[in-house]
Amino acid sequence: MSHFSPTAAVNYFFNYFLMKGVLVTIGLTVAAVVGGLILGMGIALLRMSSNPILSGASRLYIWFFRGTPLLIQLVVIYSGLPQLGIKFSVITCALVGLILNEAAYLAEIVRSGFMAVSAGQREAAWALSLSPWVTFRRVTLPQAFRLMIPPLGNSVNSLLKATSLASVISVEELMRRSDMLMQEHFQILEVYAAATAYYLILTSVWDAIQRRLEKHFGRSSAAKTRRVAARAPVAQASVEARA
């Protein structure tokens, strides 16, 4: 076994067992993003609250989950909590860990998105008698979301790869199944080449999705950029000040 066999690598790539691991990886990522966004939005709202207890609790949460390794969080949930009588299935453990962790990162992204929406937008909404809900849903959220997409994309990319840590608590996602194949056949490079290819494909697909999202939500501001380029510098400054 002193050489690399491309054929074996290709075979691993089309291995049904490994492919099912890929599906688990995708499932974990999607569920963690959706769950993390919902929880993260709530944490961000608390963080922006004027109530010091709520914002303090939210800050504590973010501090804790961003300040400790995901690996420890997963292991504690999987092996530590049963000691206190709290026991989940393997996949639930992974999801809980990934969502709790991701929410902390997304909360900060959500918060920065909202903070970047100019105060003038809220003032205009007040002046027009819009209710707080309409202001949030129709005015601030869409603008904040557009600003959130690039950092959000980055975070999803990290998360996609971080799901591999769930292999440690025996979730049979792409990494874990690669390990299993490797232990069975000892074709280390071949197996991991296939797994690497899958991760690259997944991150590339996500890149493409992110670009489409940016294009979709940036359509009005793209028009703005074109317009500004053709206009006088004074007006440009004022337009940018609002953007």
Binding site: Q121, W126, A127, L128, L130, V134, K224, A243
Partner: protein, 265 residues
Amino acid sequence: MSEIATNAGGVEGAVTQTRLREVPAVRMEAVYKHYGDFTALNEVDLKVAKGEKIVVCGPSGSGKSTLIRCINHIEKHDEGLIYVNGVELDHQRKNIDAVRRDTGMVFQSFNLFPHMTVLENCTLAPMTANGMSEAEAKDLAMHFLTKVRIPDQAEKYPGQLSGGQQQRVAIARALCMRPKIMLFDEPTSALDPEMVKEVLETMKKLAEEGMTMLCVTHEMGFAREVADRIVFMNEGKVVEQAAPEEFFKNPKSERARTFLDQIIH
């Protein structure tokens, strides 16, 4: 006009005197606003009759923007009383809502919603806050967009319009809520010089139709032509109030004199 000039010993003209017997559009009594140690409004008293056009001017930092932003509670005043069409702005939700429904506001930086088309900017509030149907709201929006002379831009995004056009959209958007009082916070300060006129023309038209207006501006030509009264502020105080002729010819305070010297070249 001569009537106002001869009456200029008093603050308001004869026409305004009779108006003041009605419930005033705006009444401020001993209003204070602080930002930390800075006093933005220092015992401000102001009465605006229905239909009156007021231009507020003064050096930067004199509190003129704060003054009009307190009238629709975008800034919360700390002390004193503010009544808008008889409703006391006492920080209670329902009174704030009532006052905001009566007032429209136009901002220096337009504050249009950049992710919505011009038409959507104009229909959002009538539909969500007034429960108007989409068709009704569109008709209303087109009515006011026609009035500010940009109905053909309805489907564009604000970023595709010039500054002057954006500000006219902002005026139309405010009018769609059928306000009784319009507040303008330096509406032409962010515009290229060649676009100032189109916005001022729109405001003049509004004034001719009898809208009650409070306008913070440095456009003294506009003030001379449209204002019933000029309110001059300095360091958070209303220093002087007078009809435009009187104010420009004969400013009583030293501060107003130096201010006018500096802005009228």
